[in-house]
C-alpha cells in the first residue's frame, strides 16, 4: 500500500511540474488548448494527491505500523479519531495535507473562473503549479510519509495532552488558512503576469481570502483555548515564535481584506495590495520554516528537520520572484484616482492598513531578533512579552478606534465637524462607559480603561449603524441580507471588540495568588473562599495515576472543584488537570492549579481570577458568524460587480 502512496506522490509531482512548465509556455504563447491541458493537469494533481492522502488515512485507521509515520505517531490503544488526526500531527502528514488542500483549492478556483477569467487563469495555473511542485518535491525527496519498516508490535502513541478535540481541529484550521492565502497570491501574480491588473482578480478571490482569513483566525483561537484549558499555565497566548507564525499572515491578510475595498471602489492602492497579498503568502510559508527549522527557540517542541532549509529557499525565491514581477508591472499598477483628503474613508482604511502592517512587522522583528543578534553580535537575545505588549497597545488601541470611525465617515472627503456629528452618540456612550468604569475601579490599568472606552465607542458606532439601517429597511434581517459584506464586517468588528475586552479584562484586571494550604484550611481570593477539603487519589485505574485536590468554594460561586496532576501509563509526562469554574454572568473564570508536595500534606494552589476571559471564546464564535455572513453568496452584490467591472473586461 505504501508503494501506491509513493507512486501517487510521484505522479502529483509530475503533474505539478507539467502545470508549471506547460502552463507557463501556453500562457506566454497564447495556446488555448495547451493552457486547458495544464489546467487539467492541476486538477489531476489534486486527484493523485487525494489517492496518496487516502493511503495514509487508511494506514492510520488500520494501525499499519509498517508505515514509519503511523508507528511514530499512533498506538493501538489510541482512539480512531486521534489516530486519524495524526495525519496532520506529524511533519510528513501535515505537508501532505498542505499539498492536498493547495491542489484542491487551486483546481476549484481555476475551474470556477475558467470562463469568466480565461486570460487570467492561464497564468494562475503555472503559479499554482510552481507552489505545488515545491510541496510535492519535498514529499517525494525529503520527507515522505510512506517510508516503511518491519512493523513493530505497537506504535509510540500520542502525548495525552494532545488527545483533545481542540487539537483535532486546530492544526487543519490553520492549514486551511495558510494554504488558502495561496489563492489570492496565485491570482495576483497571474494578473500581473498576464498584464490584466484590473480588479477582476480581487473579485474572483475575495471569498477565498475571507475564508482563509476566517480559518486562520479561528484556528488560532482554538489553539489558544487548548493552551488555556489543557496546558495549565493560566494563559492563552505567549507571544511565542510558533504562535506568532500564525498571527503574522493573519494580520497581513486583515490589512489586505480592508485595502482591496479601496482598490475595488476607487482603483487605488494597487501596488500596496500586491505587496500585501505576497506578504501574507510568504509569511504563511515562513511560519512553516520557523516551526520546522529550529532556528528560533520556542516553547513548542516541534521536530527539527532538514525541510527548514528547503522552506527558507522557497520563501527567498518566491519573495524575489513576487518582488520582481511587481517592479516589472509597476506601470500597470498605477492608481485610477487619488486620495483627496486625509479625512476620508479611504484615508481611514489607509491608516488602518499602516497600523496592521506595522504591528505585523513589529511581531516579525521580535521573531527574527534572536537570529539577527546571533548573526550581528554572536549572542542570541530575545524580545519578551513587554516588547509585544507595548506594540500591541501602541498599534492595537488606535486600530480599535479606527474600527469605529472608518466605516462611518464619507468617501473622498469630510470635515472634523461632520465626523463629530456622526459620532456624537458613540462618543457619548464611550464617555459614560469610561466614567462608570472609573467609578467601578477600572482605573487601576490605564491601557485596560482605554481599551474598554474604545470598545464602548466601537460598539456604539455599530449600534448607530444598525439602528439607522434597520429604520431605513424596516428590519434587521433585510438590512443584513441587502449588504452581507458590510454587515458581516460589522459583526466581525463586534467580535474584535469582544476579543479586546476579553484580553484587557483577563490580563489588566487579573488577580493572581499562590496559597499554601493544609487540608481543612481556608483562604479568600477576589471574593471566592476556598476551603481545601483534602486529597483524592486516583485508584484502580490502569491508564493513569495521580491525585486531585478537592476545594469547596463559596462566596461569588458555590460548589466543589477538583484540580490535580495526572500521569498516564506509558508516558513520562505529568499533566495539570486545571480546575476552572466559569461565572457566565461576569464571563469570569476561577482558575486553580494544584502543586502537591512530596513530603507534606500541604498543597500549593495557584489561584487566578480572570475577569471577562470567556469573551475571548465568545468572540471566536461571533467572528465565524460575521465571516460567514460576509462570505455568503450575494446575487445583488454580484450583479453590481459585474456591471462595474464590465468595462474592464471589454
Amino acid at each position: 500500500m505504501a508503494d501506491l502512496g509513493r507512486a501517487a506522490l510521484v505522479v502529483s509531482l509530475g503533474l505539478a511540474v507539467y502545470a508549471l512548465v506547460v502552463g507557463w509556455f501556453a500562457a506566454r504563447s497564447g495556446r488555448r488548448r495547451l493552457a486547458d491541458s495544464a489546467r487539467n493537469a492541476l486538477i489531476a494533481c489534486f486527484g493523485s494527491t487525494l489517492v496518496a492522502a487516502a493511503v495514509l488515512a487508511t494506514a492510520l485507521a488500520r494501525h499499519d505500523f509498517s508505515f514509519v509515520y503511523v508507528a511514530s505517531h499512533t498506538s493501538r490503544t489510541l482512539p480512531t479519531i486521534y489516530a486519524l488526526s495524526a495525519f496532520w500531527g506529524g511533519q510528513e502528514g501535515s505537508l501532505l495535507l498542505w499539498l492536498l488542500v493547495l491542489t484542491g483549492y487551486g483546481a476549484l478556483a481555476v475551474a470556477l473562473n475558467r470562463r469568466l477569467l480565461r486570460d487570467l487563469t492561464a497564468w494562475v495555473v503555472p503559479v499554482f503549479g510552481g507552489i505545488a511542485t515545491f510541496f510535492a518535491f519535498v514529499l517525494v525527496a525529503v520527507a515522505s510519509p510512506f517510508d516503511t519498516q518491519t512493523a513493530p508490535v505497537d506504535g509510540l502513541g500520542l502525548t495525552p495532552s494532545l488527545q483533545n478535540p481542540y487539537m483535532v481541529a486546530h492544526p487543519p484550521m490553520l492549514y486551511l488558512g495558510y494554504v488558502g492565502l495561496s489563492v489570492p497570491f496565485a491570482f495576483a501574480v497571474g494578473a500581473m503576469l498576464s498584464g490584466n491588473t484590473d480588479e477582476r482578480w480581487i473579485v474572483a478571490t475575495r471569498r477565498w481570502t475571507l475564508a482563509a482569513w476566517m480559518f486562520l483566525g479561528f484556528g488560532q483561537l482554538l489553539g489558544a483555548h487548548w493552551a488555556y484549558t489543557e496546558v495549565g499555565w493560566g494563559g492563552y497566548y505567549a507571544w511565542d515564535p510558533v504562535e506568532n507564525a500564525a498571527l503574522m499572515p493573519w494580520l497581513a491578510a486583515t490589512a489586505f481584506l480592508h485595502s482591496v475595498m479601496i482598490q475595488e471602489r476607487k482603483g487605488m492602492l494597487k501596488v500596496w495590495n500586491m505587496v500585501l497579498v505576497a506578504l501574507a503568502f510568504e509569511l504563511s510559508v515562513f511560519g512553516t520554516f520557523l516551526t520546522r527549522s529550529g532556528v528560533v527557540n520556542s516553547i513548542h517542541s516541534f521536530a527539527k528537520s532538514p525541510i527548514g532549509g528547503w522552506f527558507l529557499a522557497f520563501v527567498v525565491i518566491s519573495s524575489l520572484f513576487s518582488l520582481t514581477v511587481i517592479l516589472w508591472r509597476l506601470p500597470l499598477l498605477k492608481a485610477r484616482t487619488k486620495l483627496e483628503s486625509a479625512l476620508s474613508r479611504e484615508a481611514a482604511f489607509l491608516y488602518n492598513n499602516l497600523l496592521l502592517v506595522a504591528l505585523c512587522l513589529t511581531v516579525l522583528w521580535g521573531v527574527l531578533f534572536p537570529i539577527v543578534t546571533q548573526l550581528v553580535k554572536g549572542e542570541t537575545r530575545t524580545m519578551g512579552r513587554p516588547y509585544y505588549d507595548f506594540f500591541l497597545r501602541s498599534f492595537g488601541l488606535p486600530l480599535l478606534l479606527l474600527m469605529g470611525i472608518g466605516p462611518l465617515i464619507a468617501w473622498r472627503r469630510t470635515s472634523v465637524r461632520a465626523i463629530l456629528r456622526l459620532l456624537v452618540w458613540p462618543i457619548a456612550v464611550s464617555v459614560v462607559a469610561g466614567a462608570v468604569l472609573l467609578a467601578a475601579g477600572a482605573g487601576t490599568s490605564t491601557p485596560g480603561l482605554i481599551a474598554y472606552t474604545f470598545s464602548a465607542f466601537v460598539l456604539g458606532t455599530i449600534g448607530v449603524e444598525l439602528v439607522k439601517g434597520t429604520r431605513a429597511t424596516g428590519s434587521l434581517a433585510t438590512l443584513i441580507a441587502r449588504n452581507r459584506r458590510r454587515y458581516g464586517g460589522y459583526v466581525v468588528h463586534a467580535s474584535i471588540v469582544l476579543l479586546a475586552i476579553g484580553i484587557a479584562g483577563s490580563s489588566a484586571y487579573q488577580t493572581t495568588r499562590e496559597l499554601k494550604l493544609l487540608p481543612g484550611q481556608t483562604a479568600s481570593v477576589a471574593g471566592y473562599r476556598l476551603h481545601f477539603g483534602g486529597v483524592d487519589r486516583i485508584r484502580n485505574d490502569p491508564n493513569r495515576t495521580g491525585q486531585y485536590a478537592v476545594l469547596n468554594v463559596s462566596g461569588r460561586w458555590q460548589g466543589t472543584m477538583r484540580t490535580g496532576q495526572v500521569t498516564y501509563t506509558g508516558f513520562q509526562e505529568t499533566d495539570e488537570d486545571v480546575g476552572i469554574k466559569t461565572d457566565w454572568l461576569r464571563a469570569q473564570d476561577l482558575y486553580v492549579i494544584a502543586n502537591f508536595q512530596k513530603h507534606s500534606n500541604a498543597v500549593f494552589f495557584k489561584v487566578l481570577v480572570k475577569p471577562l476571559v470567556n469573551l475571548i471564546w465568545v468572540a471566536g464564535i461571533v467572528f465565524v458568524i460575521g465571516s460567514l455572513i460576509a462570505l455568503w453568496p450575494d446575487a445583488r452584490e454580484q450583479r453590481r460587480l459585474v456591471t462595474r467591472l464590465a468595462p474592464a473586461r471589454a
Binding site: 500520542l158 505567549a238 527557540n297 487619488k338 513520562q572 509526562e573 495539570e576 500549593f604 495557584k606
Partner: protein
C-alpha cells in the same frame, strides 16, 4: 507636478511612517530591553552574566522546593547534547506540572558565581507527538 507634490496620500504615509518610527524610538529609549538567551555550555565561559534566559534540559536530582529559602535546585545541560551541567536555584511560584528531569525548559533569572538564580520556569509545551520511550523527534 506641483499638484502631485501636495498629494495628501504622501503626507498621510509620511506621517504614518514617522509616527511608527517615533513609537519605536520611544520604546527603545524608555523600555526596550532584550534578554540574552544562552545554552548552559555558553555560560561555562562566563563568570557573571546578569539577567538572562537559559535554555536547556533538566538534570536531576530535583532537591528542595521553590518556596523555601534554599529554593528548588536542579541542573541544566544543552538540549540534545551532554554538555557541562549548570546548577540552578529557583525561587518563586511552583514550577509547571510538566517540569521534570529530562524536560526542555527556559529558565529566566540571573547568572553569578557559576550558578543560575531562576525566577521563572517555562516548560516546553508538548505540541508534538512524543514517544512513550525517551526517543524524541
Amino acid at each position: 507636478m506641483a499638484r502631485s507634490s501636495r498629494s495628501p496620500a504622501r503626507l498621510v504615509i509620511a506621517l504614518a511612517v514617522a509616527g511608527v518610527l517615533a513609537v519605536f524610538l520611544v520604546y527603545t529609549a524608555l523600555a526596550g530591553t532584550s534578554t540574552p538567551q544562552l545554552k548552559p555550555s555558553q555560560l561555562a565561559t562566563k563568570a557573571n552574566a546578569g539577567s538572562l534566559e537559559v535554555v536547556g534540559t533538566v538534570v536531576g536530582p530535583l532537591r528542595g522546593d521553590s518556596h523555601s529559602a534554599s529554593g528548588l535546585r536542579f541542573g541544566l545541560h544543552d538540549i540534545g547534547a551532554k554538555s557541562i551541567v549548570v546548577p540552578v536555584v529557583y525561587h518563586g511560584d511552583s514550577p509547571p506540572a510538566l517540569f521534570a528531569v529530562g524536560r526542555h525548559v527556559v529558565v529566566s533569572g540571573t547568572y553569578a558565581n557559576g550558578r543560575v538564580a531562576g525566577t521563572s520556569i517555562l516548560t516546553k509545551c508538548p505540541s508534538k507527538y512524543t514517544a512513550s520511550t525517551t526517543k524524541t523527534y
